[in-house]
């Protein structure tokens, strides 16, 4: 009985949580411009999405392209910067370590809008013209702390003597780095990269304030402008549906793999 109530509660929440997503997915299979108006089954919107044959298509597709490219660059740079920083912070002591950790926490505590506005003021102050570069820099700013946090636990778990042992046995510092340190940190770096990548994909506010006026759009800013104009580009429906599916599959695969490795260990 208790189990039944518990399960019912969980499923009601899930149904409510997923209703809009399912709604979008269902209406991605009809051509009507207005959501909620079923004009018969059609895969036209999907076809349009892939052939790029639609109104305002170039802007939607280039927004998707920008989003992915920015996320990829930001995640790659953050992973590099964050991993190097984590090794450094791990070897700091006392007050300095506390201070740097505190600084690292600031971008995570700050709401997006503060990060966005403050970076906007920075670029204005430096007379740095805003566009692609400023968006990427801003994304690196809020992504790197998550990489640092993902790599730090791996450093704590690592036996500090292995690195010294490699050096004693005649490894050059770069061999010790690539054959000892990096393999140990790799899981942390991978989850940091994934975290950074999705944070960047998800971002709206920071991009909004740092993209300048050159008409650079990511998916989020595209949706925002599109919705404010009234009437959503219908092709967004299949696009959202595909994104939901990809994320669901990715999460299931990642978690099943994690569960498996845990069981075998």
């Amino acid at each position: 009985m208790k189990k039944f109530i518990a399960q019912t509660y969980i499923w009601i929440l899930l149904i409510l949580l997923y209703a809009p997503l399912v709604f979008i997915a269902v209406f991605s299979f009809t051509e009507s411009r207005v959501l909620g108006n079923w004009t018969g089954f059609s895969a036209r919107l999907y076809a349009n999405l892939f052939t790029g044959d639609m109104q305002g298509s170039s802007s939607l597709l280039s927004a998707v392209e920008n989003t992915l490219l920015i996320a990829l660059i930001a995640a790659a740079v953050s992973t590099l910067l964050g991993t190097v920083a984590a090794v450094g912070i791990h070897h700091l002591h006392g007050r300095t370590k506390q201070a740097v950790t505190f600084l690292n926490n600031i971008p995570m505590i700050n709401p997006d809008i503060i990060t966005g506005v403050s970076l906007f003021l920075l670029f204005v102050f430096l007379h740095f013209s805003q566009g692609y570069v400023t968006v990427v820099l801003a994304h690196i700013t809020f992504c790197t702390p998550y990489v640092v946090l993902s790599v730090m636990p791996k450093l704590r778990q690592m036996n500090p003597n292995i690195y010294e042992a490699a050096m004693d046995l005649g490894a050059t510092p770069s061999q010790a780095l690539w054959k000892v340190l990096v393999p140990q940190l790799r899981p942390g770096m991978v989850s940091g990269f994934i975290l950074a990548f999705t944070m960047s994909l998800d971002d709206f506010a920071v991009t909004f304030f740092t993209r300048g006026t050159i008409g650079l759009d990511t998916l989020s800013t595209f949706i925002y402008t599109d919705a404010r104009k009234g009437g959503l580009t219908p092709e967004l429906r299949p696009l959202m549906t595909l994104i939901f599916l990809i994320i669901l599959i990715l999460l299931v695969v990642i978690n099943v793999r994690q569960a498996k490795t845990k069981r075998t260990v």
């Binding site: 518990a6 399960q7 969980i10 929440l13 899930l14 409510l16 949580l17 997923y18 809009p20 997503l21 709604f23 959501l35 909620g36 910067l81 964050g82 190097v84 920083a85 450094g88 791990h90 070897h91 002591h93 600084l103 690292n104 926490n105 505590i109 700050n110 709401p111 809008i113 503060i114 506005v117 403050s118 970076l119 906007f120 003021l121 920075l122 204005v124 102050f125 690196i140 700013t141 790197t144 998550y146 640092v148 636990p153 975290l195 998800d202 506010a205 909004f208 998916l219 949706i223 919705a227 404010r228 959202m240 994104i243 939901f244 994320i247 999460l251 299931v252 990642i254 978690n255 994690q258």
Partner: protein, 255 residues
């Protein structure tokens, strides 16, 4: 080279892209358009009844949203972490997944759903949509803490004669407080600061604090915008003081 020196590039980066921008918020907040010192931006906020009203509404909505998220999310997290009541890992993934989907997309979908059923957009839909967007951020940290909690505490309490009700309120709940406080951190501040979400969900009828910051910055009223951002920063400072920094527990674990 000492390995602690590896932190130097990042410290330089943080100084330029985190510290300096925040200092600039402070500087711009106390300047007029010509760069002279003034406190007019701050006094403008406290005498502007529109801005004050928006501020009050934002705090109210944020408190209500946080409370509803705790009330709905805590039982869910508890059930999910309880091995007897829930064995499926899939339900947990389903609860986490919305966190990985663009909030704007989810909000838009919600607003469209309201539109289809002919529900007028306003305060009610705003709260509903907010709870919707932020519930996973409350469930996840609480679930994480409950899941990692040492079960022997509650078993010990039970052995010593506590009723299940007492075990829950006197052992489980106090031990899960870190999860609740990081949940509050992840729900409260984003609610105050969001702008697009409230615009979509109320059709621009109700403005939240984030919206007026955005409007001022976008209409080149940088100094007033910076002053409003500064006020928000002060509130963040206060909320963070009240809830310990538990971001690490919130972010660890399942990805």
């Amino acid at each position: 080279m000492k390995r602690s020196h590896w932190s130097i590039p990042y410290v330089v980066f943080l100084t330029i892209f985190v510290v300096l921008p925040l200092v600039l918020v402070l500087v711009y907040a106390f300047q007029d358009g010509n760069g002279h010192f003034t406190i007019a931006n701050i006094t403008k906020f406290f005498t502007d009844s529109d801005a004050l009203g928006t501020f009050a509404v934002s705090i109210e909505v944020a408190i209500e949203n946080t409370l509803i998220c705790i009330l709905l999310g805590y039982p869910a997290a508890w059930i999910l972490s309880n091995k007897e009541l829930n064995r499926s890992a899939v339900t947990i993934i389903l609860f986490i997944m919305p966190m990985w989907i663009n909030a704007l997309m989810r909000t838009l979908a919600t607003a469209e759903l309201f539109n289809m059923f002919g529900i007028t957009l306003g305060k009610g839909t705003l709260l509903f949509g907010m709870v919707y967007d932020y519930l996973p951020f409350m469930i996840y940290p609480i679930y994480n803490v409950l899941n990692k909690m040492d079960k022997s505490y509650s078993e010990a309490a039970q052995d010593l004669g506590a009723t299940p009700w007492e075990v829950f309120w006197k052992v489980t709940v106090p031990l899960s407080m870190p999860g609740v406080s990081s949940g509050i951190l992840m729900v409260f501040m984003p609610t105050v600061s969001t702008f697009a979400i409230s615009e979509f969900l109320t059709n621009n009828k109700i403005k939240l604090f984030g919206t007026i910051i955005q409007e001022n910055i976008n209409s080149s009223m940088w100094n007033y915008g910076a002053a409003l951002a500064l006020i928000m920063l002060i509130i963040i400072g206060i909320t963070t003081l009240f809830s310990d920094d538990q971001k690490e527990t919130a972010q660890g674990g399942l990805i």
